[in-house]
């Protein structure tokens, strides 16, 4: 018996598609989250192509149950719940992504400074503790009470109580990285503070920051819907999931679809973001993964 091998016996170099397949199989939760979110984003962008006018009132079609013509039924003004739900995704996605992005940026900046410059730390962290002691939805409600309702103010109001959560994550990473020999030797070598922070410390914070950002995004979406549901969110004429649900409350017993369907969309979206976060956490931070 001779031992011989030709090039043909080598495993074929993985095609991009095959590699994608492996990645998908290894990270089912990330895949699920990304697919569902992409579908939602596509849906909101393409909404004008397939969904009816979400504002058109047709009193003759009031409170119709789901049918072939009105997939998700109609509300008390005869508006199409399907197209309102499709358009409503815009608000949730914008609020979720905007709050997550802004909270990450602001939280990263404050967290880096707090973790690195010990003198600032005490004061700033006490302030963060104070903000965290205020229930987030109440803080948001209070802010919105005193201003004219609008998408921008909703984003700011949700953002403020989320920032301390990001700061805490970033700060704890900075504190542990700071004690590492390579950082100490960089300090001893006379590296400037800004370079040290950006080049040596910041990269360590990115993985936990991304994971935290997904949770902030999910929480922002839930709070936005809650605020709109309470009548303290985006202006009532904008079809957001919270607003659709709030307006469906009066007729809930005869037309439950106008609450349950947008609610289910909201739950699915939050689920997708959370799955993405859990998956990323397992990939990026194996220590945390084992604990939960």
């Amino acid at each position: 018996m001779t031992l011989s091998a030709t090039l043909d016996d080598l495993p074929a170099a993985a095609s991009p598609l095959a590699r994608l397949g492996v990645a998908v199989r290894r990270n089912p939760t990330i895949t699920f989250g990304v697919l569902l979110l992409s579908a939602l984003v596509l849906m909101t962008i393409a909404a004008p192509l397939f969904a009816a006018d979400p504002f058109r009132q047709a009193p003759i079609n009031r409170l119709r149950p789901p049918s072939e013509r009105f997939w998700f039924g109609t509300d008390q003004f005869g508006r199409d719940v399907f197209s309102r739900t499709v358009y409503g995704a815009r608000v949730s996605l914008i609020v979720g992504f905007a709050v997550a992005a802004l909270a990450s940026l602001i939280g990263l900046a404050i967290g880096l400074v707090c973790g690195y410059f010990r003198r600032v730390d005490g004061i700033v962290m006490r302030a963060m503790d104070g903000i965290m002691a205020i229930p987030s939805i109440l803080l948001a409600i209070a802010l919105i009470t005193l201003t004219r309702p609008g998408l921008g103010i909703v984003i700011v109001a949700i953002l403020i109580p989320e920032v301390p959560r990001v700061v805490r994550v970033v700060r704890s990473v900075v504190l542990s990285v700071r004690a590492q020999p390579y950082v100490e030797s960089a300090i001893a070598g006379g590296t400037r503070n800004t370079k040290l922070l950006v080049r040596h410390i910041l990269p360590n914070t990115l993985a936990p920051l991304i994971v935290q950002a997904t949770y902030v995004c999910a929480s922002a979406m839930l709070i936005e819907a809650g605020l709109s549901f309470l009548g303290a969110g985006v202006p009532p004429e904008i079809p957001s999931w919270g607003n659709i649900i709030a307006q469906g409350r009066t007729f809930f017993q005869i037309a439950p679809w106008s609450i349950l369907i947008p609610g289910a969309f909201l739950a699915a979206t939050v689920l997708a973001v959370n799955m993405l976060g859990d998956g990323l956490r397992d990939r990026l931070d194996p220590r945390l993964a084992r604990r939960l």
Partner: protein, 326 residues
């Protein structure tokens, strides 16, 4: 050192610790009050203009401003507000002209009932679920519990509330649709009116507790002394509850405390879904009427409740885990 002496030092240490923790809540509350005050003053809207209405004249707005004391220097306003609160005076509602403290006191019972019953229901359901999942790790029960935990995190309180109403009140007619019965009207009507709201409010909380209980139990169950207890033939229930759960308790209690924040935020929404006349409803009504002294007072009350819960949790560690030094 004799045993009695040690006990004594332990006790004085403990009192000192509790006192220290109590003092540590003061700066947090100071930050909360300053933050709420500054934020509400800095917010771009003018409360006087909003209260006076869309087409109020400048004079009317000025009158409202004078009535609210908003024309006085900002530091004086702050001092007046703080001094009042320290004496239990949270200001006066703009619309009903009643003291905010009285309005809050009137609405306290439903909210406290709802929060406590949710706490009870959630802990009684979620801790056993978490223990079960850890015991049967990687089996079907575990997967089901984890699936519940993941879904629970994504479930908006109001959606679950309406689903519960639809199924158990509208379709099956087992429980009242909405509303609250005060406890003096009888224990059963009171409890009956709290079942669905507690489940709705508790869903995310239960998911959180179940998840942490499972994680903490898994860690403890991998310890040598558990194997010893198992191999000397102790009943599984005894090992799980006496040896494992007791040692897994600290993270579980922590998360039960952290989760109270979830409950406080959720109360506002749950009370609206179930038409419960509690503090949450008071908040929403005040927001819709822009009655900001009430909103301000309620934030302080809720934040104080949260700080207090954290304090209780911190102190409970000492009893749960004697290794924790204070």
């Amino acid at each position: 050192m004799k045993n009695g002496e040690r006990e004594e030092t332990r006790e004085t240490n403990m009192t000192a610790y509790i006192l220290r923790r109590l003092l540590a809540t003061i700066p947090v509350m100071v930050v909360v009050t300053v933050f709420v005050f500054v934020l509400l003053r800095l917010a771009p809207g003018d409360p006087a203009a909003i209260i006076a209405g869309e087409d109020a004249t400048a004079q009317q707005i000025a009158a409202v401003r004078g009535k609210l004391g908003l024309d006085r220097p900002i530091l004086e306003q702050f001092a007046v507000w703080i001094a009042g609160m320290l004496q239990g005076d949270f200001g006066t509602s703009i619309f009903s002209n009643l003291p905010v403290s009285r309005l809050i006191a009137q609405r306290l019972e439903p909210t406290v009932s709802l929060t406590l019953s949710t706490l009870l229901v959630a802990v009684c359901l979620a801790v056993p679920l978490g223990v079960l999942a850890a015991w049967k790790a990687r089996r079907l029960v575990d997967r089901l519990v984890m699936a519940f935990a993941v879904l629970g995190f994504a479930m908006p309180v109001f959606l679950f509330g309406y689903v519960l109403i639809y199924v158990f009140a509208v379709k099956l007619g087992w429980l009242p649709v909405q509303g609250y019965r005060p406890i003096h009207e009888g224990l059963w009507p009171w409890a009956e009116s709290l079942i669905l709201p507690s489940l709705a409010l508790g869903i995310t909380y239960m998911a959180l507790i179940a998840r942490i209980t499972r994680a903490s139990m898994l860690e403890v169950l991998a310890q040598d002394y558990i194997r010893t207890a198992d191999s000397k033939g102790l009943a599984a229930s005894r090992v799980l509850l006496l040896h494992a759960l007791k040692n897994a308790a600290v993270p579980i209690v922590t998360v039960i405390g952290i989760g109270v924040a979830l409950l406080i935020s959720g109360v506002v929404i749950t009370e609206t879904v179930f038409n419960i006349p509690g503090l949450g409803r008071l908040t929403v009504d005040a927001v819709l009427k822009r009655d900001y002294p009430i909103v301000q007072g309620l934030i302080i009350v809720f934040a104080a409740a949260k700080v207090l819960v954290n304090l209780v949790i911190d102190i409970s560690y000492v009893f749960l885990d004697p290794r924790i030094r204070y």
